[in-house]
Symmetry: C2
Subunit: 319 residues, 2 copies
C-alpha cells in the first residue's frame, strides 16, 4: 500500500509517496504559494505527477501543516508563517484529489514519522522537539499521537520559562520560543549588535558562542538553559523513553549540545534521562512527509480492520 505524504511549510512544500515500510518511493517540492487555493492546486499537481512517475494508483493522503488547527473540522485556524486563517485545507485537498485526507500538526506528523521508522523507532513514548523558526513538540505513545483536547498539545515553545521575560509572538512573555528559536536568536543577536540582518541563524553565531565571544555567550548560554528547562519539563510530565531533536537549528547541535544536555540532566533529576537516550532526527527534512503518509496508512489499516470485523458480524447475523 502507498500513500502521499505532504509537508506544508512556511517556505517550501514537500510531497512524497511512501510505502508501508516507511520508504520514500518518490518525492518533489515547490515554494509554498501565498494563496491557499493555489497551494491546493500545486499539491494536487505534484501528487498526480508522482503517481504517474511510479505508475501506481494512490488513494490516500496524509498532510502535516503548521497550526493551530481544528483537527475535527480539518481547518488551519491560523498559520502566522503562511498568513492563512480559517482555511479548510483537509477538505480542499480531499476534493482536489478525490481521496481521503488525514491532516495533523507538522510537529506531530514529524514525531509520528520518527517514531515509526526514524530515530524514535522502538520507543514506547517518543518526545520530538523541533528547533526551527519556532520551537515545537510532538509526543507519540505506542503509535498514537497525543493531541490534547483541542489539538494544541506539546507546545514546548510556549511554556513560560522566565516570568516577565522576553516578549513572544504569542502575546505572552518569557516563553521558551522567545529565547531559543531561529527568530529569537537572530533578534537577540541584533540587540547586541552581533546580528547580520539575516532572519535565519547561521552556524557562525554558534561558532562564536563556542569560541567564547563575550557579546554572544551571556544571552545565548541563557537561551540554551531556557530550552533545557522547557524540554526537561516535558520530560518530567510525559516520561518519554526517547527524546529526539530536529529542525534547522540542529545543524549546529555539536556546538550547544553539551550545555543543553547538562541542563536537561540536572532538571530531569533522579529518574534520569530517558532510557532510550537523547539524540537527533534520522529522517531529517523527510520526517514530515514520512509521518504524514504513515498517519494516512494507519488510518486506512484501521478502517480495514473495522470493516473486517463489521463484515464478520453482518455475515454472522445473517446466518
Amino acid at each position: 500500500m502507498l500513500a502521499w505524504g505532504v509537508d506544508v511549510g512556511g517556505t517550501d512544500c514537500k510531497v512524497g509517496v511512501v510505502d508501508a515500510t516507511g520508504r520514500v518511493r518518490a518525492e518533489s517540492g515547490f515554494e509554498t504559494p501565498d494563496d491557499p487555493e493555489a497551494a491546493v492546486r500545486e499539491i494536487a499537481g505534484a501528487c498526480r505527477a508522482l503517481e504517474e512517475e511510479l505508475g501506481a494508483r494512490i488513494e490516500r493522503l496524509g498532510m502535516g501543516v503548521p497550526g493551530p488547527l481544528d483537527l475535527e473540522r480539518g481547518v488551519i485556524v491560523h498559520a502566522p508563517n503562511l498568513g492563512w486563517r480559517d482555511v479548510p485545507l483537509r477538505d480542499m485537498v480531499a476534493g482536489a484529489l478525490d481521496c481521503p485526507v488525514v491532516m495533523d500538526n507538522d510537529a506531530n506528523a514529524a514525531a509520528y514519522g520518527e517514531a515509526w521508522v526514524g530515530a524514535g523507532r522502538g520507543a514506547r513514548v517518543l518526545l520530538l522537539v523541533t528547533l526551527g523558526t519556532g520551537v515545537g513538540g510532538g509526543v507519540v505513545e505506542d503509535g498514537r499521537v497525543f493531541h490534547g483536547a483541542r489539538g494544541l498539545a506539546v507546545e514546548i515553545g510556549h511554556m513560560v520559562a522566565v516570568a516577565g521575560g522576553r516578549a513572544c509572538s504569542c502575546g505572552k512573555r518569557g516563553c521558551v520560543e522567545a529565547y531559543f528559536s531561529a527568530h529569537a536568536l537572530s533578534e537577540q543577536a541584533a540587540e547586541v549588535g552581533a546580528g547580520d540582518g539575516d532572519p535565519r541563524v547561521h552556524r557562525s553565531l554558534f561558532e562564536r558562542y563556542a569560541a567564547g565571544d563575550e557579546r554572544i555567550v551571556p544571552w545565548l548560554g541563557r537561551a540554551i538553559d531556557v530550552l533545557a528547562q522547557g524540554v526537561a519539563h516535558a520530560g518530567v510530565l510525559f516520561d518519554p523513553d526517547r527524546i529526539v531533536f530536529t529542525g534547522g537549528l540542529t545543524r549546529s547541535w555539536d556546538l550547544y549540545r553539551d550545555r543543553l544536555l547538562a541542563g536537561l540532566q540536572a532538571d530531569l533529576g533522579p529518574a534520569g534521562p530517558p532510557p532510550g537516550g537523547i539524540g537527533l532526527t534520522e529522517l531529517g527534512g523527510r520526517a514530515g512527509i514520512v509521518g504524514a503518509a504513515g498517519l494516512a496508512l494507519k488510518r486506512a489499516a484501521a478502517g480495514k480492520r473495522r470493516e473486517a470485523r463489521g463484515g464478520e458480524r453482518v455475515s454472522g447475523s445473517s446466518r
Copy 2:
C-alpha cells in the same frame, strides 16, 4: 458487575466496593500497617468483609498506590511515605484474594475516577492535580490513563520551577513540590517562626495569608505562583479541556484560589484556560477507590470484548 477499589495511602488505607456506574456500594478503612505483608492481610480481610456485607461475589480488584511503581511487574519500587521498597504488591494481593488485580499510581487512579464519574466527566483530556503531602498529577485521555514509558508521567511536583531553589526530597532543587505541598508549606512556616510544629498544614496558615500577615505573604504568595507555573506548564503541554484539583490542601482553596487562577491565566496565554474550566474534585477522598475499581472493571470489560472477538474468529475458521 462489581469490583473492589483499594486506595493505599501513607496514613490510611481505604477499601470499597464499586459498581459499573461508579457508585460506592460499601466501604471501610484502616491504618496502613508498616509491614507490607500485614497490609496485604488487612486489605484481603477488609475486602472479604465487604463482600459478605453485600452478599455478592466479587472477582476483580483495582488498587491505587504511591509510587514510583514498576507497572509491568506490579511492584512498588519505592514509596517513601510508607517506607516500602521493591514490594510486589499486585501479585501479593492477587494471591491473597485469588483474583486479578490492576495496580496504578494513586494520582492516576484518582484521575481515572474523576474522569469516569467525578469532576472530569465528559472531558476528553482531564488533568488532575493532587495537593497533599506532595504534589502529583494524572492525565486521562479518552478514558485512558497517560502513563509515560516508565509509568512516571505527570510528576507536576518535580518540575524544576526555580533554578537553584529550595531543596526537594527528590534530590533536585527548586521543584514545585518544594514550595507548595503540605510538607514544604509547614517547613517554610517554621523557617519564619510562624509554624506550629505540626507537619499538617492548617487552614489558619492560609487565613493569615489571606489577612495579609507579613510573615506569611511573601513566601506563601511565591509558593502559589510556583504552583501556578507548574500547572500552566502541564496545561500547555497536555492541552486538557478540564483541570481538577484535589487533596488535603484544597480544603483552603477559597483562600488561595484567586492568586492561583490569575497566575494560571497569565501563563496559559492566548489558547486560554481549558474550555471545560478549572475546578475542584467531586469524589473527594473516594476518588482513589472509585478510580481503582473503575480501572479493574475496564480491564475486565476489555477482556470480555477480546474473548467475544476471539470466539467469533475461532467459530468462523471452523466452519
